[in-house]
Symmetry: C2
Subunit: 193 residues, 2 copies
């Protein structure tokens, strides 16, 4: 089957549609406030297909989470510290204007499921460590790890506050607006003396 002739019935395509719709809903409204019927309607497919392709609502949530984790890893993978403020600013500010979901915000959503929580924790931990190391600190420096995690927390907090409350001027600040303060923040927390 050539990629140019799309089947009218395409399992992978509808799976993708469901994943994207779920990503948006879960990120914006959280796990509990989102119904499978909402997601299915957004995707324009039948509700029963969620159970078919993802086994359950929780399965779909986990799929969203891993997809989001991959995206974050891919986007901010090997950014040097000097470019971290821009990377974070783009991560925070970019999606809001493009209608895409905030990957960082999804990381704060919880289904109460244990395996989902582990996925989330793994990313947060490794990302914090990467940040600390990128700043030029030894891997086992607990104090700097704490500071790196505070940077992470700040980034997620900003992303969340932007989407949840229309707090101005934060809510509609552009990536360019966010870079200078983020640079100050990151420098203050991670810069070597």
């Amino acid at each position: 089957m050539a990629a140019t002739s799309p089947r009218r019935r395409d399992a992978t395509k509808t799976r993708q549609l469901l994943l994207e719709a779920a990503l948006q809903r879960f990120t914006r409204d959280g796990y509990a406030a989102t119904t499978v019927r909402d997601i299915a309607d957004d995707a324009g497919v039948n509700v029963a297909l969620i159970s078919r392709y993802f086994k359950s609502k929780e399965g779909l949530f986990e799929a969203c989470l891993t997809s989001s984790v991959d995206e974050v890893r891919r986007t901010n993978g090997d950014t040097p510290l000097s470019r971290t403020p821009e990377a974070i600013a783009r991560q925070i500010a970019g999606p809001c204007t493009e209608g895409l979901p905030h990957h960082l915000v999804l990381l704060l959503r919880s289904s109460g499921d244990e395996s989902a929580d582990r996925i989330r924790l793994d990313l947060l931990r490794s990302y914090g460590q990467r940040l600390s190391v990128a700043a030029g600190w030894p891997e086992d420096d607990e104090e700097m790890l704490l500071r790196a995690q505070i940077v992470l927390a700040a980034a997620t907090g900003i992303a969340l506050l932007r989407t949840k409350s229309g707090l101005e001027p934060l809510a509609s600040a552009t990536a360019e607006d966010l870079v200078p303060p983020l640079r100050d923040l990151i420098d203050a927390l991670l810069k070597r003396p």
Copy 2:
């Protein structure tokens, strides 16, 4: 009725019990994931009393929100900038060890209700403004207001990450651990040149 001889049937007392239980649940699990039966069980009272004393689940949530807003206003009311890091650190770190709810985290919870969202937004806005002014900036400085709101976002992000994910060392950092990085963060974002 003397305060020393508690009535076995005390409306204000059970109202308070419900409020405290709800505060804890809403803060920890969010609005949608919390059921009125959970709250009633925690408080050790009948479910129907929620509708009686707070009209509805949303009414109870709003009561929690205003109570939390008052608490935040009372605690961090007129703190000068020099003592802000300690105040925030205590706000973030204190409750976690005492089993009390994180007022900052509740501010990120949403019921989808409009009036609740306005309460939340009002506090965030005024708090951001107060922070900017406390740092010695004119009230209408948009750029500094943005920076103040980023401080606010960082604080809430930290509080949220501490409660939601067991991200170490952030999750079990004491108030004393948090003060130095928070001071660096606040100084970097708000200090006059």
